[in-house]
């Protein structure tokens, strides 16, 4: 299976957009090699700003640039941008509803050996709680590319999460992408596996394996965490009567919480959640960590079986 890191989807889209849209500007905080925007800085030096290791000032500067009609993309690690500059995102950008786009790199535990300080596991929760904010967690390279392009087409703040490691490409360049609309990648009647980001691939693997045991899963990719495609989620809850959510993020405040907020108010069915359980990460290879923190297809399979039992009882 072809693999590619989602972060390249972000920078490739920026490079392509910049050709025809001179409003696109890029800001970095001394991590342009990691965020992969370094090529943009080289090609468009007048539209690139390296603010240095000063995330708060980077977000404020982006806010100012947006007020002159630019579409600024600020790029740095998700932990730093969502944590260090949270108040700047809240008060200056979201409260003012400014057209600032945030590229949150190194999302999830698969960041690997850098350890817990650099593994963003809380930023979906932090960002989705902010009024006016749109939050996107693409599942692969192509989707990150499309999400980045789509973010420029809507006014207001957008947070795009992408990862460090190469992950399987599950979509095609021509797979449709509509902000705020989820996608059913596999149909099934027994349970809905609703996933985002890197866990979409794991969900597909789990569904294939479960099929051999006679369990038919619907697999849904929800790339836009906010605004959430409530209609699709409610419909699939009604059709399958059970849900498993899967994310590379804290379940608390995160994707599982977001899905359950919709379900409990509209169509209560049993839900099981795969994700980080109120703990920090640690150093290790991405594969070791995904396994140790129960974020693999096997963990999804286990939860599917558990939720089906609950459904029957």
């Amino acid at each position: 299976m072809e693999k590619k890191a989602t972060r390249f989807g972000y920078s490739d889209a920026l490079m392509d957009m910049a050709k025809t849209d001179d409003r696109i500007v890029v800001l970095d905080a001394d991590l342009s090699k990691s965020t992969t925007t370094v090529g943009f800085h080289k090609k468009y030096p007048k539209r690139s700003y390296n603010i240095g290791i000063a995330e708060q000032n980077m977000l404020g500067s982006a806010a100012g640039l947006s007020l002159t009609g630019k579409i600024p993309y600020v790029s740095t690690y998700g932990v730093f941008v969502s944590g260090r500059a949270y108040d700047q995102i809240r008060t200056t950008i979201c409260y003012s509803n400014l057209n600032v786009k945030i590229g949150g790199a190194h999302g999830g535990i698969s960041v690997g050996p850098d350890g817990a300080t650099h593994q963003a596991l809380e930023e979906i929760g932090l960002m989705r709680g902010l009024p006016n904010m749109t939050v996107i967690v693409p599942c692969d390279y192509h989707e990150t590319y499309k999400a980045t392009k789509a973010s420029a087409s809507i006014p207001g703040p957008v947070y795009i999460r992408f990862g460090r490691e190469a992950i399987p490409i599950v979509t095609k360049p021509d797979t449709p992408f509509v902000l705020g609309k989820g996608q059913v990648y596999k149909d099934g009647r027994d349970v809905s596996i609703i996933a985002c980001g890197s866990l979409v691939y794991e969900a597909l693997v789990a569904a294939e394996s479960l099929k051999t045991e006679g369990i038919h899963c619907k697999v849904i990719n929800i790339h836009t965490i906010k605004p959430m495609d409530k209609e699709l989620i409610i419909k699939s809850a009604q059709e399958t009567g059970a849900i498993v959510t899967a994310e590379e993020h804290q379940i608390m405040t995160g994707f599982g919480s977001a899905i359950s907020e919709v379900i409990v108010q509209n169509c209560p069915v049993p839900i099981e959640m795969v994700g980080i359980n109120d703990t920090f990460g640690e150093s290790g290879t991405p594969d070791e960590l995904m396994e140790a923190y129960h974020l693999t297809s096997n963990d999804i399979i286990e939860k599917v079986k558990k939720v089906i039992k609950r459904k029957k009882s």
């Binding site: 404020g60 500067s61 947006s66 007020l67």
Partner: protein, 299 residues
């Protein structure tokens, strides 16, 4: 209700015959500028009285610098708040809404009577400026330390486009205890933002007391100099010094300029001057009466 009604009555009394112009700068004579600043002060104490809360102290300390800037330097059109040719102003110390809302009212963005709704439920005049409620506000502020970065970003965008518009920012002295202010001071010099002028309202008071007692910031001019800024130190209540300061700032090249305004918190109201307690407190009716007398006399 009584506060609001009395406030409105006082606001409607056009004591200083302030005239609004279709386009600024209006090149007012010195005496006219003084009257403009007097009216701003009057609005500040009446609107905070009317609201029963608010921040008169730091509004009054910056009133002369911003009275001069708004009437005689800032390019803006009250009928078209987002006019392309406008200069930008970012209020990093967002709590000076009594000052900000008065400047808009006195230059004709809306009727002065609106000031009587300051901080009222449903009013566009929020306790801290909100662009979602009042459309002439460029960006919401209120959490300290963020405005200079925004101003720097605007200055970067204007430079990128080769536009001549100027960017002004206002920050408080206590506010410079926020680390982000220094990040922005560093980046503004790094990017050679000579289209950016910062007014540093140096009244030496913050909520808990004297700035130098809470967390010393001195020597502030040396700090800016060492960060490669042009520095100008003025008496923030002397119209000529403010005029000269802004003119010098506009002629400076290659680097941003800070106008360090040595100011008096609560300036113009006898019992508020140099009193930290008047940072965030509104006058009562008796105090308002004294305040208006002080402002009329021009202490």
């Amino acid at each position: 209700m009584k506060r609001r009604e009395l406030g409105l009555e006082l606001l409607m009394d056009n004591l200083y015959n302030i005239k609004a112009y279709p386009e600024y700068p209006a090149k007012l004579e010195k005496e006219e500028v003084k009257r403009f600043c007097q009216q701003i002060r009057r609005d500040i104490v009446v609107s905070t009285f009317s609201a029963g809360s608010g921040h008169p102290g730091g509004s009054l300390s910056a009133a002369d610098m911003f009275g001069v800037l708004w009437s005689n330097f800032l390019k803006h059109k009250p009928s078209d708040p987002f006019w392309d040719g406008r200069d930008h102003v970012i209020y990093s110390k967002g709590h000076v809404t009594p000052l900000i809302y008065s400047l808009y009212a006195e230059t004709g963005y809306y009727n002065r009577s609106l000031l009587s709704t300051f901080r009222e439920f449903g009013s566009p005049l929020q306790g801290h400026p909100a662009n979602s409620k009042l459309d002439c506000i460029e960006v919401s502020s209120g959490s300290l330390g963020q405005g200079l970065s925004i101003a720097a970003g605007i200055a970067m965008g204007l430079k990128q486009d080769g536009k001549p518009n100027q960017v002004y920012a206002l920050c408080g002295d206590g506010e410079s205890q926020e680390g982000q202010i220094w990040e922005a001071i560093m980046s503004s010099a790094h990017f050679h933002l000579d289209n950016l002028t910062l007014f540093f309202d140096y009244n030496n008071l913050e909520i808990d007391g004297f700035v130098e007692d809470i967390m010393g910031i001195a020597p502030i001019e040396d700090k800016f100099k060492s960060f490669n800024w042009h520095t100008i130190v003025i008496d923030a209540h002397n119209i000529d010094e403010i005029n000269n300061g802004i003119q010098t700032a506009l002629s400076n090249t290659d680097r941003p300029t800070v106008i360090i305004g040595r100011s008096i918190k609560g300036k113009g109201v006898s019992y508020m001057e140099n009193q930290a307690g008047w940072h965030g407190r509104a006058p009562n009716e008796e105090e308002l009466k004294i305040a208006l007398e002080d402002i009329n006399r021009g202490i």
